[in-house]
């Protein structure tokens, strides 16, 4: 699997990608299609567009930090 860094994406490219994947954004926050904030399920914090990762497994949007990434790998295996 190829890993592409969102750090190199312009903000408009990130927003367009989120929309294509069924999300939205409002200000700094990632929103689900129904307008509610998306929370990182491993740290229970809202995900910010500036610091998000988008990982496979029914499209998982998380905060970019070692705890969330390690938890994802523990749950889904070393798919990355």
């Amino acid at each position: 699997m190829e890993l592409l860094s969102l750090k190199n994406f312009s903000i408009s490219a990130k927003v367009a990608l989120l929309e294509e994947l069924g999300y939205r954004c409002e200000g700094r926050f990632v929103l689900s299609n129904d307008g509610t904030k998306v929370f990182d399920k491993y740290i229970n914090q809202p995900v910010l567009v500036d610091n998000m990762v988008i990982l496979p497994g029914s499209t998982i949007v998380l905060d970019d930090n070692p705890l969330s990434i390690a938890s994802y790998i523990e749950e889904y295996g070393e798919v990355l």
Partner: protein, 228 residues
């Protein structure tokens, strides 16, 4: 970028901020759905996580720890240690905050137990004394889950008699299989004094010392096993 081909966007290849055409975004999304790509943030984050999964310490730990929460906390302890080694203190503090957010202070203490090398030393200390893997797993789990009760961190300025009383009370009240006294650098001497008092005053426990390569001392106060 007028066609559907993707620019070189893997981090490290370019640091330029990239825009994409509508077609390119659709193509990226389709590749994502086909599990051909994933979108990461800073490549350091995933790299440091994966590095810890390749360490001998994790290889050893994962054999004896099945609880998912404890496994994550062990990985976070290894990650904290790496961030400390790299002097990436902002990331270290950020990770500590995240650990507390999810696992409260208790979780942070378990991760720090691993970060300080105490967990690896514990396995090395008890493994030769235990008869079965199941028993080893059980002692490891009990120790990790009770880090706050069964581990004491000694500071240079601590009152030795007061700390000795604290240790004694813990041993009598909780009767742990293993109790741990940790003294970092300047706290080595007070730790030695507390252990001297323990040896003179407490029966039924065997005490062994592990010295880390940083000069920290870790005393394992183990309930005596049959035959000891």
């Amino acid at each position: 970028m007028g066609d559907n081909s993707l620019p070189e966007i893997a981090e490290g290849v370019t640091n330029a901020i990239l825009n994409f055409t509508r077609e390119q975004i659709v193509s990226l999304a389709n590749r994502f759905r086909n599990r051909d790509v994933a979108f990461i943030g800073n490549s350091d984050t995933i790299q440091i996580v994966k590095e810890q999964l390749k360490t001998g310490e994790w290889d050893l730990s994962k054999k004896y720890v099945e609880d998912k929460e404890l496994r994550i906390l062990i990985q976070m302890g290894l990650t904290l240690r790496k961030l400390e080694f790299r002097k990436q203190f902002d990331k270290l503090h950020n990770l500590r905050e995240k650990i507390v957010l999810r696992f409260q202070t208790r979780g942070l203490h378990i991760a720090q137990f691993v970060q300080r090398g105490i967990f690896a030393a514990l396995i090395g200390d008890i493994a030769p004394k235990i008869n079965s893997i199941a028993e080893l797993k059980s002692v490891v789990k009990e120790t990790l889950e009770n880090v706050e009760k069964n581990v004491i961190f000694i500071k240079e300025t601590d009152d030795i008699n007061r700390k000795f009383d604290e240790v004694k009370t813990s041993l009598y009240a909780n009767k742990p299989a293993t109790y741990i006294i940790f003294g970092k650098n300047s706290a080595v001497n007070p730790s030695n004094e507390i252990v001297r008092l323990l040896r003179e005053n407490i029966a039924g426990y065997a005490i062994s010392l592990y010295k880390s390569d940083k000069g920290d001392c870790i005393y394992f106060v183990n309930k005596k096993w049959e035959g000891e």
